[in-house]
């Protein structure tokens, strides 16, 4: 690795560090990885978990939107809550 870094341009070297930092950030965000020993989690694993997490969040958002829309039907359309819910759903 060191040899590769030296061969590569300075920009790539910086990028490598950035990537490492970003991966660590992601690691903190993703709850699954957060609980693992972070020192041994490979970057590919982090990326994989991030993808999975984003997908799960998407699903959750959809699910919540559906619930909110259902709720909206049950409440007074003029209520403040309704507006809130609508705004939530429309995000």
């Amino acid at each position: 690795m060191s040899s590769r870094r030296s061969r590569q341009s300075g920009a790539s070297r910086i990028t490598d560090d950035q990537i490492i930092e970003l991966v660590s950030k992601l690691r903190q965000l993703v709850p699954e990885i957060r609980n693992r020993r972070s020192d041994k989690v490979p970057a590919s694993k982090v990326l994989q978990e991030t993808c999975n997490y984003i997908r799960s969040l998407h699903r959750e958002v959809d699910d919540l939107s559906e619930r909110l829309s259902q709720l909206l039907a049950t409440i007074d359309a003029d209520s403040a809550e309704a507006s809130i819910i609508r705004s939530l759903i429309s995000q």
Binding site: H58, L71, S83, R86, Q91
Partner: protein
Amino acid sequence: MYHCVPDFEMDDDYSIPSSNGVARPRKSSLPEDEIMELLWQNGQVVMHSQNQRSTRRSPPSKYDDAVIPAEQSAAREIRSEQEPAAHNQNSQLFMQEDEMASWLHYPLVDDDPALDHNFCADLLYPSNNLGNCTNPTLRTNGVTELHQAVTSEVWTSLPPIPPARRTELAESKAQNFVHFSRHKAKVAGGEGLDQNAPSSSRSAAVVRESTVVDSSDTPAVGHKLHVGDRGCAATKGDASAGTSSAGGGGVSGVKEMSTCEVTVSSSPGCSSASAEPALKPQAEDRKRKGREANDTECHSEDVEFESVDTKKHARGSTTTKRSRAAEVHNLSERRRRDRINEKMRALQELIPRCNKSDKASMLDEAIEYLKSLQLQVHMMSMGCGMVPMMFPGVQQYMPTMGMGIGMGMGMEMGINRPMMPFPNLLAGSSLPTPSAAAHLGPRFPLPAFHMLPVPAPDPSRMQAANQPEQMLNSLGAQLPSQPRFPNFVDPYQQYVAAHQMQVPLPQNEALGQPSSSKPRTNKGPENLGNHQ
């Protein structure tokens, strides 16, 4: 001559000519039994045979010998029809691998010379035939080529087998091949393989099998595959560099075989039949090699490491060790990078409106998007919890997030204070209530919301709101105030403004999720306005 072919079923037993001859019926009439004794001398097989000129060839015997594993003892009794050829062969043969020696000696001279020509004797039969056989140059060339592929010392070519004989003995030969191939593989594996050896053995095995295919295609093919796998496995055992060369050699050998096979097609149907199946297994071998190459590449480094270690021990050369280790390292590194790149692409697809090609910026966006997603989910869940609580007292706890989002998020940045009139979605904003209210008041879309007590912001929201807070303040000035809701901050506009301001994306997303749906919040102000 009667070829006393040792019972190929018996690996060790070579000297049972008579029984062998009986065991294997030969199509071609074998000349009277002539016992040619192949004596191993100094690694060379010297054939003492009284039968100087024997037109009979005993391919099966050769096969048998070949099949028989390497346990050949020093002295073998091999009946060969061609003494002179044998002699020549003997001189030429360098029996470094015992198991290969015996049958190789059998010259191609056959009572059916046409068969020789037809058969890919060239490949099978090394230059030994040159001496005694009147084989055409084709054979010579083929043999030479194959010979080149194979180390001169190691004679891995198969003895030519007349198609007729092949047909009869096909199945037995197949078995022989199996044995032989197994032994070859064992030997190859055990010896820490000379590169040529495994390839040559593999090619030889392939050749042999191909020749046998005509009569028993299925088993032969199976054997071939089996052998090929072993050969490939053996090849794998070589260092990666060695693998490529061995593979190349093996492939060339196979190709040569195919050529021979094709040329042989002129011979009776068996040969043509053999040609086809031979080609098929060759293709299979090539495919296998390709697959194996892929597998080798994709294979975990363990195999390579092991092979490297084996090679190291075998060679004991530091340079080789280092080079191999470096190769392995590079391969593993490349694989790791490929995996990471693949994951990055997948992630990029997930992130909406990600037009960054740079890894770092893409990861940045991913992080922000992830945060915004989390925030959105959190707010929505809060909203769900809020709705059931309709009584006024609850309004205090109306999720600020809902308000904030509806209002275009960020503007309530500072409203996270419990007593703030405006719900603070993003919470954490440090804007003083009065100032915030004053600041945001005019933009507050819903008068009703004004009445809402400031809900207790969640700590998380507070944290999240810190970021957008600043942006909000700046945005507030810029955001166009809607006619009805001057205070209302359209999340989308907010987003746009944010972008114009070069505000980090997460804030925008956190505020209004603009990335997910730009015009989404347009409804908000209108609805609010209606309620107004």
